[in-house]
């Protein structure tokens, strides 16, 4: 039986990859992609814990979090479209006029 810690390490590694993805990627779409990665990592840990504790609450939460992740990305894509329409670019590093 694979011990709990292995699953958790996988979840955390996934989470880390997602974070690094957000920090380094220039393209807005790929940033949204890595946000998705974050949520999936969290779902993984929820499922693992519910399996370990033997009750279904964890899985209920994963369902909700999937729905929320979807909503999140939907809004993200909408904003990307807006960005593209007005700026002709969705490169995250170009939006720097909001500064001192």
């Amino acid at each position: 039986m694979i011990p709990l810690s292995h699953y958790l390490t996988v979840a955390f590694v996934l989470f880390a990859i997602g974070l690094i993805g957000i920090f380094t990627r220039k393209n807005a779409i790929l940033v949204l992609l890595s946000i998705e990665l974050l949520f999936n990592a969290v779902n993984l840990s929820f499922v693992v814990f519910s399996q370990a504790h033997g009750n279904l609450e964890g899985q209920i939460v994963t369902l909700f979090s999937m729905a929320i992740a979807a909503g999140e990305v939907a809004i993200g894509l909408a904003i990307c479209i807006l960005l593209f329409r007005t700026q002709k670019t969705i490169d995250v590093t170009d939006f720097t006029d909001l500064k001192q």
Binding site: F39, V42, S45, V48, H53, I75, I79, L82, T86
Partner: protein, 472 residues
């Protein structure tokens, strides 16, 4: 049934506004604002009418106690005034103002669910509703480049904070095998060994909530988003989402993690010190007034977190009182800001020169709210800061109080420089600004509230402390 009276009324207003938005013709859109304000007022009256109803629904997931009732009253007041503020700002909303009211009502519904839920999942869903509506609100001005940029930045950091929140919840679930606050609390008390999961989980949740409060880990976004988004949305961020985050965090912290408070308060102290120093020093050279208010809300969040160092109902009462005073002060300030935003395009501080000649009333209202923001005696800000400093020193953090006092002095510099510009400089164009009736009333109410809280704070502090007892 009467336990969820506020949510029911709000959902009703949501639908009414939705349909009337479809039916009404183009030019009568401003009616929607009044409708929303009426809705909030009704909900407020109903909530006060059913004040002594308390109990729990959905097998204990949703609870209505003193604390949640007071919080809901706060949210409804915020909703009422924000809807009026959006009405005054409506001329700038090219893309139609109907949806704006819907988003506002949805956010307030999310807040009231969040505050009275005792299940982590429901809290998470409440928070998500607030974040979703604020994503859309920030990038509401489709044509303005700044608004969209603010939207994308808010979205990225919002998503990260939600992810952290979820991660924290999964660890707490892992540690205590349930999502209900009471069982988690017992798990924390009983389980000696694997407290680490619970502590790390709590920490993640705290970090995700700091996003909304704009405190140290997640404070970088605040100035840009405050500057970019339309003024009522900035008001929403600095008042509504901060209050929601703080009230929810109050419930989580005091209902679950009170036993480990003495270690955590050291972390809080470090974070507070960092926020105060960062916010006040960065605010000195600011030219844009909304950006300045971003840093000022950051510094006030730091002061509020000082209240969390207290370990009894009296201390928590001071946090609630600080929220009261902060809401009243920021509402007054933002009413003036949103009114002036219509007259000038880029909200620079220089626009405020000679405001006294343009409209003495706006100038005095902004003057009183700036006094309260700095914490100068006759206003509520002074009493709030005093009480919070009192609880910090009471818990032995004299050094933190000293930093707080000196940062308050620093804040005096940039607040009073605006006052100086308003009263002492000569305006460029002396065209008087006409103030619509609704804004006048709300200005009188909010400024009056600030002064009353400042002069006779006794009963209000007592009310907040009553509400705080239900947390323990």
């Amino acid at each position: 049934m009467f336990l969820m009276i506020t949510e029911i009324f709000l959902i009703a207003t949501l639908f009414i506004v939705l349909f009337s938005d479809l039916l009404l013709s183009k030019n009568k859109r401003s009616l929607l604002g009044i409708l929303t304000a009426l809705g909030f007022l009704l909900a407020l009256v109903a909530q006060i009418f059913f004040w002594n109803e308390s109990g729990s629904l959905f097998e204990g997931m949703y609870v209505q106690d003193e604390f949640s009732k007071l919080a809901k009253v706060l949210f409804l007041i915020i909703g009422f005034f924000l809807s009026l503020m959006i009405r005054t700002y409506a001329t700038k909303l090219v893309g139609g103002q109907g949806e704006f009211y819907l988003l506002l009502i949805a956010a307030i519904i999310g807040m009231s669910f969040g505050v009275s839920s005792t299940n982590l999942l429901l809290i998470f869903i409440g928070l998500e509703i607030i974040t979703f509506s604020s994503y859309i609100m920030t990038s509401y001005l489709k044509h303005a480049r700044a608004s969209i940029e603010a939207g994308i930045k808010y979205l990225i950091f919002g998503a990260i904070s939600t992810a952290f929140g979820l991660l924290g919840m999964s660890l707490i679930y892992g540690g205590s095998a349930s999502l209900d606050i009471l069982t988690i609390k017992n798990a924390l008390l009983s389980s000696g060994s694997d407290q680490t999961l619970l502590i790390v989980g709590f920490l993640f949740i705290f970090i995700s909530l700091t996003f909304k409060m704009a405190i140290v880990p997640f404070q970088v976004w605040a100035p840009d988003v405050y500057e970019g988004s339309p003024t009522p949305v900035t008001a929403f961020f600095s008042i509504a989402s901060k209050t929601a985050a703080i009230t929810i965090f109050l419930r989580i912290f005091y209902e679950i993690f009170l036993p480990i408070q003495n270690q955590i308060s050291i972390i809080f102290a470090v974070i507070i010190a960092a926020t105060l120093v960062y916010a006040n020093f960065a605010a000195i050279p600011q030219k844009n007034i909304k950006r300045l208010f971003g840093f000022s809300s950051m510094s006030h969040a730091g002061f509020i977190l000082m209240g969390f160092l207290a370990s009894d109902a009296i201390g928590v009462g001071f946090v609630l009182f600080y929220l009261f005073s902060l809401i009243a002060t920021n509402l007054a300030a933002f009413f003036v800001l949103s009114l002036l935003a219509n007259h000038s395009e880029n909200d620079r501080v220089i626009e405020y020169e000679g405001l006294k000649e343009k409209s003495p009333m706006l100038a005095t209202c902004l003057f009183v709210s700036l006094l309260s923001l700095t914490g100068i005696p006759p206003t509520s800000g002074f009493v709030a800061k005093l009480l919070v400093l009192y609880s910090a020193v009471n818990e032995g953090f004299l050094w933190l109080a000293v930093i707080g006092i000196f940062m308050a002095i620093l804040s005096a510099y940039y607040y009073l420089s605006i006052v100086g510009k308003m009263f002492l400089e000569k305006p460029k164009d002396t065209s008087p600004i006409n103030i619509p009736l609704s804004t006048q009333i709300s200005l009188y109410l909010t400024v009056g509230f600030v002064v009353i809280l400042g002069v006779v704070p006794g009963p209000f502090i007592h009310l907040c402390q009553q509400a705080a007892t239900s947390l323990f």
